[in-house]
Symmetry: C2
Subunit: 142 residues, 2 copies
């Protein structure tokens, strides 16, 4: 009685995510956590000025968790929270120069740590399939 392919794939992905998260966090000198980095990364890649709620939805994470993460990022000076001029309820998350620099540093540290491990595995070949799965899962959440 064999489990379906999706199961085997997600099992591997779960293990890889766990190992990669540990490796990433250990590679950071100042206790920067993966959630913090992912938010910085998101802002760098897709642009800042987004609302906390929009970021929370993008990562499928509760609003309360994003409130916490953004407070930590603000304490560290990596983002600023400004009031939304158009909507009195909302805020806008602005990336600071320090935040952008910290994201680049994190990428460099993680890449230096992971590059030897990933060398010669032909990972580019995985990207289309992974992207297709990600899109399918993303589309399926109602």
């Amino acid at each position: 009685m064999k489990d379906p392919a999706i199961f085997a794939v997600l099992n591997e992905i779960g293990i890889i995510e766990q190992l990669a998260r540990n490796r990433f966090e250990r590679a950071q000198p100042d206790g920067l956590r993966l959630p913090h980095f992912t938010v910085l990364n998101h802002l760098v890649r897709l642009g800042d000025g987004r609302t906390p709620g929009a970021i929370a939805r993008a990562f499928q994470v509760p609003k309360a968790a994003m409130t916490n993460t953004l407070q930590r990022l603000e304490e560290r000076g990596f983002v600023r929270l400004e009031p939304d001029p158009a909507d009195g309820r909302a805020k806008r998350v602005m990336l600071t120069e320090a935040g952008r620099a910290r994201r680049e540093a994190a990428v460099a540290l993680a890449a230096a740590d992971l590059a030897p491990v990933a060398a010669g595995l032909g990972l580019e070949g995985l990207l289309p399939g992974l992207a297709a799965l990600r899109v399918a899962l993303d589309k399926a959440r109602g």
Copy 2:
């Protein structure tokens, strides 16, 4: 300035893991969490009678977290913790029939939920590459 391939791959994997975890946990009727399931799955696939520490190391998770997870599984009657006859410090984690049944049910529920999403994506093709990455990461942890 492009990030290396390993980065893009791990980014996709992180998103997929997040979406899949949410989907998995929402599909379970009794609040069974992914950590609980992964332990049950581990015991079913590799055999029970292991020590808590060995399981914690296998998942690269602190011992304290495993203590908690195993206590929850024991409360639910899915595992039993027996003293190790050969080592007075150690315990052995035994899978109960209810635990084995719950694992099968979880697989069935998750598969039913995920199969439509994953249909026609050719996921089998991803398995060798993912396994290679998992092995490389696993080997690289000191």
